[in-house]
Amino acid sequence: MYLVEDKAKRADVRTSEQLAGEGFMLATPIASPGGKWEHFPNSHISHHGKACCDIAHEWLIAYDFAQLNGGDILSGPRWMREHSAWGPSAWPIHWCEAVDAKIVDCGVHAAIAQEAFVARGLRAFRAQFIQRYSADAAASWRESWGKGDVSDHWIDGDAIYHEGNAVVVGDDHVKLWDGSAGWWINPRGEAGYGSLAAVRIDARVDSFATGLLWGNRRIPLNLWVEI
């Protein structure tokens, strides 16, 4: 679900192997809202620098607009989930591969949705989530990620790391989009299975100094915030 092969673009970010290794060495999650994912970067889709990725990117933006079908531009791009199911994907991944793949992980969904939201003229940011599930769910996911020969470093006990988007609505309100599920996360969510344990909104901007309002909660930017 994450990553970063494009060192040229983001020299400050470490490789997936390093990060995964770091995670696995921890006996228990770090006692901070971000847990073992405290310094995890958002997933980043790479560009071949050639026409293949240009075409894929242009297609994505035009297709998203077509799918709006006259609806409100604040509608979540649910078509992405129809276009590519959620599952293990191998990183690094390029635009031409990401847009064509039948199965992708939440990092791809979130990166694609981000392009679409921004192209619609919305203010949107990448968001990282930590969600609570169960030991059984985790075991099942480990199994399928193992079969796909893809790292399962996003699972930790009954918590998982997940990616999505934060879309600004109104002045400083935000909605959290989970593209892999195809829904907006419920800000009134309770604790328990599938609930949001922590969130980090990645917004390298000067505005929103006081953070963004999600439901009744004010979320400071670029920090893991416990929910």
Binding site: A51, C52, D54, I55, A56, E58, W59, L60, I61, A62, Y63, F65, A66, Q67, L68, N69, G70, G71, D72, I73, L74, S75, C96, V99, D100, V169, G170, N186, R188, E190
Partner: protein, 757 residues
């Protein structure tokens, strides 16, 4: 304490009775709760929390007067009554117009102020009402409303029942069914609002709001009914106006406001119900026992507090034992040969609706127009040129059925299109019109197109030949479509104005033919198939792979021709707003194609399938805006072709027919046989036609309104009914002349020869 609770139907679209009983039982463990029903076929009567049952005969056979008297006795004796049915609440309001201290249902004045769709009582709430139109308007206007709403519309009955009607034939079928079931012609069309459904439930006693909760649907059945939800407090900005509303209407009892929250957070009020909703116990689970609050206010006896168990609730399906003294009724005998035998409303609610109409025809009237506004007219007005053109005919000598060429109408339409094109053209970008020959290949229309500066749009070489015969030059011809090489050997060698390729294979063939000197065109381009719209035409864009193929194909187009893009979608089919979204979407695809292929687009051909009124009424504003958008997004475009085929052709002909025979049946139902048929008017299922009768004596034109007459065509085909629900003017008899207008488009070009001898 004795509490009567009705509305115990507990099927897939349940009534609230069982939920009310469960909530009351928690608040008042010792109360005697009596279930009231009008059929022993209603499953909720077997719910074991009911202490007693009071089962009446179904509404259709119940003696309402004596039943009303017995309800009064029950109330006078101290019994409380909570109604779980809209229609029962309305009937109770008619029996107790000013209420009764023990009747926990709204008074008549309150009910009258919540009739759909306006819900006058809710005017202070932070909600909007989706746009609507009474079906008392003419079919012509109703069709226009549907187009304007992109066919995302609901046809609704006055009490409940609503159906999506995505096409004209679906609309007419549902209109017939709803009118019959609910014994009223007063239905309304309402725009669909896309969003999340939520409700506010309230409980009030004699104008005082006792409590209210908000619920968001978190799971719904196939019918859109609540299956699970979360419950929360009503925010103050909603609660305060709600409190005022309850005071203004002197509300007593439960109530529900059903709403949709759209993507921009606006609430739309869909309807208000004069009773608790079926999810009432879901709120009790969340700690808001609204039925108990109601009983507490009416009796002064404190309800037992029940702590909240969860802010969310869901439903399960349970089997329960059937009570021995009310065994299940036998199933009705299935109709011979028919499928199924279930009866939708075991208690006969539809029969109650019919009876309520008789008690007080106004009681259930849907408030569809603000007071003082003109009454809707079911007869569509006839444009002046129609009247003139019909008046110019010599019907005496006319063999019917006969298409009438509406000369002055056609001339006016073409002239105004030409004038519009001139007005929209600038020094940089020329706007032209193309007449699509397939819409109606009548040479009079093609000639008018030529005389008014149109180009000829052809989809076959046969059509190209027709255009050339009428006088078009090859460089005034635009060739399109998947079958443009048919019939073989007729491709002009002279330079045409534009050729658009319908597929990659077609494009390769065009490229080869141009290279071989077998054809030539100033513009050579592609027709694109925008995603998300079902179409068999054009080069698809539905995956990055097909898009990459299209880009490669565009790079192969001859460089000595200019590059063009053709886009076509019937606006009458997808709706006007959606057409405009598609248009903007198409421009974005074009921009991407330019960037990726390195070819700039110099001609844009936007086909329309415009409904005449939409195209002509749109006037310049939208088309001008479109031209502006094109200029901004595709600065190399020098020519925009618009193709108002149907908009020109459809009004330009009418169909005259004669009545052969009139048969009167019972209940005002009339069947008239005419000498025309669906062979001459094959579009009758898909669009309304404005109709007139010519009076045999005076020759005057009389509009045909809506009624109970069916016009049967002359063919031996079961579906040859060319109009239903019409009202022939008084005195119409065999031999009289009827004229169906708006028949000059596909009615004319798709007419066929069956039954012509």
């Amino acid at each position: 304490m004795k509490i009567f609770v009705s509305g115990l139907y507990a099927g897939g679209n349940p009534q609230p009775g069982v939920g009310i009983v469960r909530s009351l039982r928690q608040g008042y463990p010792d109360a005697t709760i009596v279930g009231v029903e009008y059929s022993n076929g209603v499953s909720g009567i077997h719910f074991d929390e009911l202490d007693d049952l009071w089962i009446q005969r179904p509404w259709g056979e119940l003696d309402l007067e004596s039943y009303g008297q017995r309800v009064r006795e029950v109330l006078d004796a101290g019994g409380l009554w909570i109604s779980g049915s809209d229609l029962e609440a309305m009937w109770l309001a008619s029996v107790f117009p000013d209420g009764h201290a023990n009747l926990l249902a709204p008074p008549m004045a309150g009910i009258k102020r919540i009739t759909k769709p306006v819900v006058e009582a809710a005017s202070g709430l932070p909600v909007r009402i989706p746009t609507y139109l009474s079906t008392e308007h003419s079919d012509w206007d109703l069709h226009a409303f549907c187009r304007a709403q992109d066919w995302r519309v609901w046809l609704k009955g006055p009490y409940y029942d609503a159906s999506r009607t995505p096409t004209w034939d679906a609309f007419t079928a549902v209109r017939n069914a709803l009118s019959k079931v609910w014994s009223t012609e007063k239905l309304f069309l309402q725009a669909h609002v896309s969003g999340y459904e939520e409700s506010v439930m309230l409980s009030a006693y004699q104008g005082e709001l006792l409590g209210a909760v908000s619920m968001r649907k978190r799971d719904v059945t196939a019918e859109g009914k609540t299956w699970a939800g979360d419950v929360s407090d009503v925010p103050p900005e909603f609660l305060e106006p709600l409190r005022r509303m309850v005071r203004d209407t002197n509300w007593t009892g439960g109530g529900e406001l059903e709403m949709v929250r759209d993507a921009s957070d606006q609430l739309w009020l869909i309807e208000m119900n004069p009773r608790f909703p079926a999810w009432v116990h879901g709120a009790t689970i969340a700690g808001h026992n609204l039925p108990a609050l109601l009983v507490q206010a009416a009796t002064g006896v404190r309800a037992q507090p029940v702590p909240a168990q969860s802010a969310e609730f869901t439903r399960v399906v349970l089997e329960v034992p059937v009570r021995a003294d009310y065994p299940l009724p036998p199933l009705p005998e299935p109709f011979a040969g028919a499928v199924g035998h279930s009866m939708k409303h075991p208690s006969g609610l539809t029969a109650l609706a019919a009876r309520l109409h008789k008690i007080d025809p106004d009681m259930l009237d849907v408030a569809l127009a603000p007071e003082g506004s003109p009454a809707p007219n079911a007869v569509s007005a006839l444009p002046e040129t129609y009247v003139a053109d019909i008046g110019a005919q010599d019907f005496g000598a006319m063999q019917t059925p006969q298409y009438i060429y509406m000369e002055s109408t056609a001339e006016a339409l073409f002239a105004s299109a030409a004038e519009r094109a001139r007005r929209l053209s600038t020094d940089d970008v020329e706007v032209i019109s193309g007449y699509s020959i397939k819409t109606n290949p009548d040479k009079r229309l093609i000639k008018l197109a030529l005389d008014n500066g149109f180009y000829a749009e052809a989809i076959s070489l046969g059509e190209v030949q027709t255009a050339l015969e009428v006088g078009f030059r090859p460089d005034q011809v635009i060739l399109n479509g998947p079958g443009k090489w048919w019939p073989e050997g007729l491709m002009p060698r002279e330079t045409m104005h534009a050729v658009f390729c319908d597929s990659v294979a077609d494009l390769d063939r065009v490229v080869a033919a141009v290279e071989a000197g077998e054809m030539s065109a100033r513009h050579i381009g592609i027709r694109i198939r925008t995603p998300n719209i079902t179409s068999r035409f054009g080069i698809p864009l539905d995956s990055p792979t097909t898009f990459a193929k299209l880009i490669e194909a565009v790079k192969r187009l001859p460089t000595d021709s200019k590059f063009g893009v053709h886009f076509h979608m019937a606006s009458s089919h997808v709706g006007v707003a959606q057409w405009w979204h598609l248009f903007e979407s198409m421009l974005r695809w074009c921009r991407s194609i330019e960037r990726l292929s390195g070819r700039t687009i110099e001609m844009l051909d936007m086909g329309g399938g415009w409904y005449p009124d939409d195209w002509h009424a749109d006037e310049t504003s939208k088309i001008a805006h479109a031209a502006e958008l094109v200029r901004a997004m595709l600065p190399a475009v020098r020519q925009i072709a618009s193709e108002p085929g149907k908009a020109m052709a459809q009004p330009s002909m009418a169909l005259a027919m004669r009545v052969l025979e009139i048969q009167e049946h019972e209940d005002d139902m009339i069947e008239a046989v005419v000498d025309a048929s669906i062979a001459e008017i094959p579009m009758h299922f898909w669009q309304p036609h404005r109709m007139v009768r010519q009076c045999g004596e005076t020759g005057a034109l009389q509009p045909i309104g809506r009624g109970k007459t069916y016009l049967m065509g002359r063919l031996c085909m079961e579906h040859d009914i060319i109009a239903s629900n019409v009202q022939l003017p008084e005195g119409t008899r065999a031999g009289d002349l009827l004229i169906f207008c708006d028949a000059g488009g596909y009615d004319r070009s798709m007419s066929y020869v069956f039954g012509r001898g």
